[in-house]
C-alpha cells in the first residue's frame, strides 16, 4: 500500500481590495480662480505662494485644512469655490494620505485637483489614489525634504515644479 504524506493547504491572509474606478475631472481651458488648499505643514504655504506668484491673471482662494486628518465639510466646501484646487503638501505618511483623500473628495465634487507630494511619498500617493479608484489623480512630485528647510531651498524646489504645474494648466 502506498501512503502519501500531504501538507494541508495554507490559507491566504491577504485581502482583496474593493474594486473602484473613478474618473478625474478635466482641467477647464479658462481658469479664473484656484483654491490653494494648505495643510499647514511647514513650508506648504510657501510652496503655494510661489505657485500663486507665478500664475498670472488667476484669482486665489486660500483654505487651510488639517495635516493628518480629513478637511472639515466647511473647509472642503470653501475649496470647491474655484475652478481648480491645488493641495500641499504631502511630505509624510498621514499628510500625504489626507492630501490625496481630500483631493479625491474634491474630485467627487467635480473640482479638478493637483496634489503636491514629496518624492519620498509619491509612490505611496499614487498607490493610495489607485486603491481609492482614482489611478489618474494629478500628483506633482517635489524634492524631499520640505520641512526644516531654508527659504532659498524651498524656493529652489518649488520653482522646479512650476513647469509641470503650468503644463497641467496648459499655461506657458
Amino acid at each position: 500500500m502506498k501512503v502519501k504524506i500531504v501538507e494541508k493547504d495554507i490559507l491566504n491572509p491577504l485581502a482583496e481590495s474593493k474594486a473602484l474606478k473613478l474618473e478625474i475631472n478635466p482641467i477647464p481651458e479658462n481658469i479664473n480662480k484656484i483654491s490653494l488648499f494648505d495643510n499647514t505643514k511647514p513650508n506648504a504655504n510657501e510652496i503655494l505662494n510661489i505657485i500663486a506668484d507665478n500664475l498670472n491673471n488667476v484669482n486665489f482662494e486660500r483654505v487651510k485644512k488639517p495635516a493628518g486628518a480629513p478637511a472639515t465639510p466647511k473647509q472642503l466646501e470653501k475649496a470647491t469655490q474655484a475652478d481648480l484646487s491645488i493641495l500641499a503638501i504631502g511630505d509624510c505618511g498621514s499628510c500625504t494620505t489626507w492630501v490625496i483623500l481630500d483631493a479625491i473628495r474634491l474630485e467627487k465634487e467635480k473640482i479638478p485637483t493637483i496634489s503636491i507630494c514629496s518624492n519620498k511619498f509619491t509612490t505611496f500617493a499614487h498607490e493610495l489614489a489607485r486603491s481609492n479608484g482614482m489611478e489618474n489623480l494629478r500628483i506633482v512630485e517635489i524634492e524631499h525634504p520640505i520641512a526644516a528647510q531654508s527659504r532659498e531651498q524651498v524656493e529652489r524646489k518649488a520653482e522646479k515644479i512650476l513647469p509641470k504645474i503650468k503644463a497641467l494648466l496648459s499655461l506657458d
Partner: protein, 406 residues
C-alpha cells in the same frame, strides 16, 4: 510553496469522491483472468489514485513562516500556518459567514472579511475564543473618528492600544494585573499581534509601503491589556462610556508606546498627580501641537493613594487636563502649525478637555503608572460592545456557539 503540492494531488471528479464506484472495482476484479494476476483479485483500492492512502499533516511552521516573511505577510516573527481546520475552529466564535465583510480597511481598501480576520488571528497565535474581540476591534478601528488612513500611514510611531473591559476579558483571561503590558500572557500577546497582522495583510499597512513610520515602535507588535476592574476605586472605562459593568467592550486607541511614571514617595493625590503631569508634559509628542487624548494606566497602588484623598475620577481627569502644560515655544515644533485656539497664557494644554484623559487602572503591586500620548487631534478612541450580529450583548464568548445551536 503553499500551492505547489496542490498540482501534484490526485485527480478528483469532485471534492467528495475520487470517481471510482465500488461496483467498478469489484467488476474489474471479476472480469480479470485469475491465473494472470492474483494480486489484482484482492486489490480493491481505487485505481485512479496515485496513492492508496493520504495522510494530511500540518504545514511546517519554519517553512511557512519563511515563505510568508519573504512575501511581507508577517511582522517578522514566526507565524502559525493558517489552515482550513484551524479556520473552522475560529468560525465557531462568530455568527457572521466567513465571507461577510466586516469593514473596508485603508490604505489598500482591503475587504476585512471574517475569514481574513480569522486567518490573520491564527497566524498571530490566537486561540479561537479570541475571535470576537479581534473582530470587534477591527470594526472599532475602522470608525471615521479613529482615522485609520492617517494612523496607518503616518511617520509618527503611533500604535493601536486595545483595552478590554467586562466579563469576557476575564473569561478569555486577558492579563490586567502584574506585567499586563509585558510578556507572558497569550491574550495580551496575540490579540494585539492579530490586529497588526490584519493591518499588514488586509489594510496594506506594510512597513515602508502602506505604513510610513519613520522608526515605528515596539508597541506595534502588540499593545493589549485588560482593565483591573476589581482594583479600580472608580468607574471602569466602559461604565464611564455608558455601558453596564456586566457588558463586555473593546476599546481601541491610537497611542504611543507607554512611558513609566515612577512615584514611590507621594502620599497625597496632588503630589502623585503632579509626578504624572510632569511626565506627560513633553514637547515632542503630537498632543503638544495638536492636542488630543492621553492614556493614563494607573497602577492600583497609585489609584488607591489618590482615592484615599477623596478624589473622584472626574477630579483626576480634570487635574491632569488643566495641569499638563507645554510652553508655546516648545509646543510649536510639530508637523502642523500650532493653532492659537490651543494657547492658554503662553502654554498649550496637551488635552482638549478632561474627557481626553483616558484613565484606567491596571497592573500589579508597585508604585507605577504608565502614560501613553495619543495621535493628537487626528484620532479619537472608540469603544464597542461585544455583540451578536443582531446587536444582542454577549454574556460569554460561548454565546456564539449557542446562536448556532451547538
Amino acid at each position: 510553496m503553499g500551492n505547489k503540492h496542490l498540482n501534484n494531488k490526485k485527480v478528483k471528479i469532485n471534492e467528495n469522491a475520487c470517481g471510482c464506484l465500488i461496483d467498478d472495482l469489484i467488476g474489474e476484479n471479476q472480469d480479470s483472468d485469475k491465473n494472470k494476476n492474483k494480486e489484482l483479485i484482492n486489490n480493491r483500492l481505487c485505481g485512479s489514485h496515485e496513492n492508496d492512502l493520504e495522510v494530511y499533516i500540518d504545514p511546517e511552521i519554519e517553512k511557512v513562516s519563511y515563505d510568508f516573511y519573504m512575501r511581507k505577510l508577517t511582522d517578522g516573527l514566526p507565524i502559525i500556518p493558517p489552515t482550513k481546520e484551524k479556520l473552522l475552529k475560529f468560525l465557531n466564535y462568530t455568527d457572521y459567514n466567513s465571507d461577510d465583510i466586516i469593514t473596508i480597511l485603508p490604505p489598500k481598501q482591503g475587504k476585512a472579511t471574517v475569514e481574513k480576520i480569522a486567518i490573520n488571528s491564527i497566524m498571530a497565535g490566537c486561540i479561537p475564543a479570541f475571535m470576537p474581540v479581534i473582530q470587534h476591534a477591527v470594526q472599532a478601528l475602522s470608525q471615521d473618528q479613529f482615522n485609520l488612513p492617517g494612523v496607518n500611514a503616518t511617520t509618527h510611531p503611533v500604535a493601536i492600544c486595545v483595552i478590554l473591559n467586562g466579563p469576557i476579558s476575564r473569561e478569555i483571561a486577558v492579563n490586567s494585573g502584574v506585567g499586563c503590558l509585558g510578556p507572558g500572557n497569550i491574550a495580551n500577546a496575540t490579540i494585539g499581534r492579530a490586529l497588526r497582522l490584519c493591518l499588514i495583510n488586509i489594510a496594506g499597512a506594510v512597513p515602508g509601503i502602506g505604513d510610513h513610520a519613520t522608526m515605528g515602535s515596539p508597541a506595534k507588535y502588540s499593545f493589549c491589556f485588560g482593565e483591573a476592574e476589581n482594583e479600580n476605586p472608580w468607574k471602569p472605562l466602559h461604565v464611564e462610556r455608558g455601558f453596564n459593568l456586566e457588558n463586555s467592550t473593546v476599546t481601541v486607541m491610537a497611542a504611543e508606546a507607554p512611558h513609566n511614571v515612577n512615584d514611590h514617595r507621594s502620599k497625597t493625590a496632588e503630589d502623585l498627580l503632579n509626578t504624572i503631569v510632569n511626565t506627560a508634559a513633553v514637547a515632542g509628542c503630537n498632543n503638544s501641537h495638536v492636542p488630543g487624548e492621553i492614556l493614563v494606566i494607573m497602577g492600583p497602588e497609585h489609584a488607591q493613594t489618590v482615592e484615599n484623598d477623596g478624589w473622584e475620577k472626574e477630579d483626576v481627569k480634570r487635574y491632569i487636563h488643566e495641569n499638563t502644560l507645554v510652553p508655546v515655544e516648545l509646543a510649536d515644533r510639530g508637523g502642523r502649525k500650532l493653532d492659537e485656539q490651543w494657547m492658554v497664557n503662553g502654554n498649550v494644554r496637551i488635552t482638549r478637555s478632561p474627557e481626553d484623559v483616558i484613565l484606567v487602572v491596571a497592573g500589579g503591586p508597585g508604585r507605577h503608572t504608565m502614560i501613553a500620548h495619543g495621535f493628537g487631534t487626528s484620532s479619537q478612541s472608540v469603544t464597542l460592545p461585544l455583540t451578536l450580529k443582531d446587536g444582542t450583548l454577549l454574556q460569554s464568548v460561548q454565546d456564539y456557539k449557542k446562536s448556532k445551536n451547538y
